[in-house]
Assembly symmetry: D2
Homo-oligomer: 346 residues x 4
């Protein structure tokens, strides 16, 4: 249950609500949102008599939130969140954004070439890992800070905004210095120290669903970000673990309408990890947009067969062009359109 | 490995191939296909020297089939199979067919009403269970043969072709008497006695993927049908078992491009069972068509809240109309179109 | 809810209960059990006022069954079911039975050799498939009726009781003619036509859990057997589908205490299919007995490397001997002991 | 492939091996182990001609490691690792250790009471979370550093060694100051920054398997620890995500013999998280020991119904006593015994 305070409620009035909740035998948890302050009542609130709380000074309304997450829920905020990025790029509105690029930043030449080709194909944001979470300690771990600088150079040249991953709390600030959107990867979805830091970093966060995470768990991880004051959160479906080796993961596109119903946050889809097979990326990119995704995250590499990581799921340049043409047609069929890239230098 | 015989190969020539394979220490399995006869060489054929076989009289070519299934593979038949139904309805061509109707046939009034509404909405085939596989022995088990007669009556009145399930080998012939397409349900995908009988029944078969079946297993079950001489097989993705109760199943739409790559058989998708939630059916029907499905199988009920089974996933009539409008737009966006219903009385 | 009738209740009294339930707006389902007759009240019985029913003539008591299954539940029958087999073999009591043998009956020599070796090792029952459910139509499908006769011959010679699988309703009676226990395999757990026939066949049934079946679904399939009057049902955990190819299945041993809590039926475990790897069978057989299994079902072959099916999970003869020694020690540690084989000719 | 250097190989000799590998077109990765130095050859080594390397000065032998992990493999070290703890406690030898305690440290009274009761029951180590990874930001997050101090006090009083979790790289050093063994939890199994720091912290690490991790992934995460020089690693099976809500997780005990075959590291099992249901903990603790686990990690709480986290899976004190008696009998049946607690003050 959320006790929403009036816009001009005083600190004393909030404190009185907290005390009343505690007197009633529950825990109180003040939530300072962007537009309004509320006090969450934690515990089984099925049988709580709210009239005593509703009568307190400064209380605007009582919202019964049936889910364990609060601020990410539709009940807390019915209208969709639109994440605003530099240059007028918006995620979560009627536009469908395409975030494209290689799995890893490998060299200056590679990332610039990749950036140009995805920009020419119509992408709005550039993806590319500088810090790579790798299953084996002996695999390429990314270029680190040098990779961040190369991403920034690619942005300067192409105007594409940059999305890249932070792996640990210390890394968040470094990544935030260079990136426009900070990615929290699937393996880190329940890295709560990382989430808390990312919630305070001042940059939008792209939060990927963990490989065996329920939608409720995904939304609770997003709640960590909002609880720290970061409203600019973009969710991402990227496939869950399954039993059939025909694909790398099971791309759970139903997650998109499920999230849309439960939460106001935008959600994008990653058909590259979702399928793990290059030849399946285009049809599943189409399917993701048809299912209502607010954007796509796809791996494209100038030379996929020479990629240092995940080459088998990266699109060839000409495949990316084909994909863009096809998803544009799907977007139009459902009354949306692909986002325009930001003007260079925005 | 398949030793494909020439069109006019004699029984003696086929026998000679079989003997040669056995002399080489392998098992031989003659496969009488619709267009050509072949002899399958069973066992690890990685190191077989095919020159001896290629030199035999009547042998046209040697096909190395890398998969455990043979006749369902693209290697055996590169061009897509188009299943021809009465009245000119075709599944597997450029048209997208919609198969709609209630979970179960419940009464004459219900099935006629359902048939009219899905026909008016643009469906081509009517679905409805007469024999129902139910998890509990105490649940409604279907009207049985009476249900089949009601389906036939609905076909007479609306011109919709009828798809309905057979549960056991004995039931196949009864169902085949009334239905245009015989459904083998998810729970029966590895009911091999049923498959063998369905492979000899003379009617097309709609084979649903089992709840935990790999694509290879699905295709091997289809191979049972083709091995009995039935080329008219339509596959169906209907969701696999997952860990998140937010949906009833995980709707694995990537199965569609995976199947398309490995097999020439058409594949349709069932977003009703795939999601198990009415509010998710429309977006996932769009996604299925965008992913390349040759058709949709959806549950529609005149009064879903009174359904005797699966009411929570059946569309309301007006939702079905909306779905048809939206999937028509998606089909067009990828260069396909919804199939026209067969003329009444066809 | 179950309305349990007195031992001497008349048909009229039962009919009156049925009518009353229907007047109350619910469905009634008479259940003729071995010891007593009851009438099940189907539908959400949370708010039913039972006093009206309890007052009817011939009613002994009202049992509130919270699960969808009725007769298999502990609420219906608190004491454990002990399945009695010929020769005094009992499954579900304090003894732990070992059912062993090859995956398939391959030849007279093979099955006799296998029967002797498992008998000498201490097994009580012989397993061996005559009708084999095979994923591929091109795999060895079993010797059929000839296999049943060979199993009977092995029983005559060794005194081991025979467990073998029936694949379809027609096959049940044939199998019942030769076998002491009829196996319903994992792929057939929801083959309801088969279950209904097996429920009427007069022989005990070993029901294996489906590869993606919940415990509730397993118990509901067992309920089909009891609903047809067959009380002699033995459940079997044999592994569920997982994501890690390190083993063939995930051997879900917790199913054993879960089933024990919910149901009075005995449950055995199959570490051969549960793991799919010969080297894991012995430790997991120990674990199964430690977890409380009433028996083991294990694959043993005189020459596993020459087996026509599942050779990689069959124990070598000397491994079987080692397994028996180790599980005997575990059984003793928890206050049980391995069952004695029936005397030859029993 | 691993090029193992002689005990007295010089830095120059190692460098020459590295250069030769690179000249051959592969990557070289020196691995400084506790007893010997090796140089890993990374890349597909299936076709490498090792004779050139074997001929180099200082090279002792060439080990072909078929797995992606190196130092954790049995091929690298055939004999089992025994982790030595203060007071003579050993994990991985013939003793079975029991690590018990509450989910979270809640108060001084609670942790001291818990410590005494598990000590009296025969546990060797005390578990208890000070930093808790919680799915919801609104759940109790642990007492933090205060919790660590209370754990240290409990050790002082009872002589039990302390195992507790570190959540992030910064936290590792703090935890290492107080704990005897640092736990890396299931959600952190692929938190590679945390693993790297834990690999350098100087304390043994208990690494729990992630909820959807394959055994290969678990071993590769352990490889991160060994690659940083920490040989004292204990693995832990604690259940994987499944589809059946009858249990919280699927307790995959086959992981134990699988790990034993592939790796020399000890492995313990956590039946509390593995099942998530108090009534299933005792049978599954028995099963874990029977399967070959080197120890158990169990949740015990003085008053489970008042626990701040995971109360439904914590044993009552008297249940813990019963469990210890039963697992002692199982350990004995397989030729092992429960470890003795360290003397107080050790």
């Amino acid at each position: 249950m959320l006790v929403v305070m009036q816009h001009d409620a005083t600190a004393d009035e909030v404190r009185r609500v907290v005390e009343t909740i505690e007197e009633m035998g529950y825990q109180a948890r003040p939530i300072a949102g962007a537009q309004r302050t509320a006090v969450g009542l934690v515990g089984n609130d099925g049988r709580v008599d709210a009239t005593r709380l509703a009568a307190l000074r400064g209380v605007k309304e009582i919202i019964h939130v049936t889910q364990p997450y609060k601020q990410v829920s539709r009940e807390w905020r019915p209208e969709p969140t639109v994440v605003q990025l530099p240059g007028g790029v918006r995620i979560g509105g009627s536009d469908v954004v395409v975030i494209a690029g290689p799995c890893s930043v490998e060299s200056e030449q590679q990332i610039l070439e990749a950036a140009r080709l995805v920009r020419d194909g119509g992408a709005t944001l550039l993806r590319g890992g500088a810090f790579k979470p790798r299953t084996s300690p002996y695999s390429f771990q990314g270029l680190g800070k040098k990779g961040l600088k190369l991403l920034a150079r690619a942005r300067d040249e192409t105007g594409l905004l940059v999305v890249t991953e932070a792996l640990d709390p210390e890394g968040v600030d470094t990544v935030a210095e260079y990136a426009d959107v900070i990615q929290v990867g699937a393996r880190s979805m329940q890295n709560f120290s990382l989430l808390k830091r990312a919630g305070r970093c001042g940059k939008p966060v792209l939060l990927k669903r963990g490989i065996a995470a329920t939608i409720t768990e995904l939304l609770l991880s997003a709640e960590y970000l909002l609880a720290e004051g970061n409203q600019n959160v973009i969710l991402c479906e990227r496939g869950i673990r399954g039993f059939d080796s025909a694909t790398r993961n099971v791309f759970d596109l139903t997650a998109i309408p499920v999230v849309k119903e439960l939460s106001h946050l935008p959600i994008v889809a990653d058909p590259s990890h979702g399928t793990g097979r290059r030849s399946k990326v285009i049809p599943m990119a189409r399917a993701a947009v048809a299912a209502g995704a607010d954007g796509l995250l796809v791996e494209v590499h100038p030379q996929p067969d020479r990629a240092l990581s995940d080459g088998e799921q990266a699109l060839f340049p000409e495949q990316f062009t084909a994909m863009m043409r096809e998803v544009a047609a799907i977007a139009e069929a459902i009354g949306r359109k692909l986002a325009e890239p930001a003007p260079v230098g925005a």
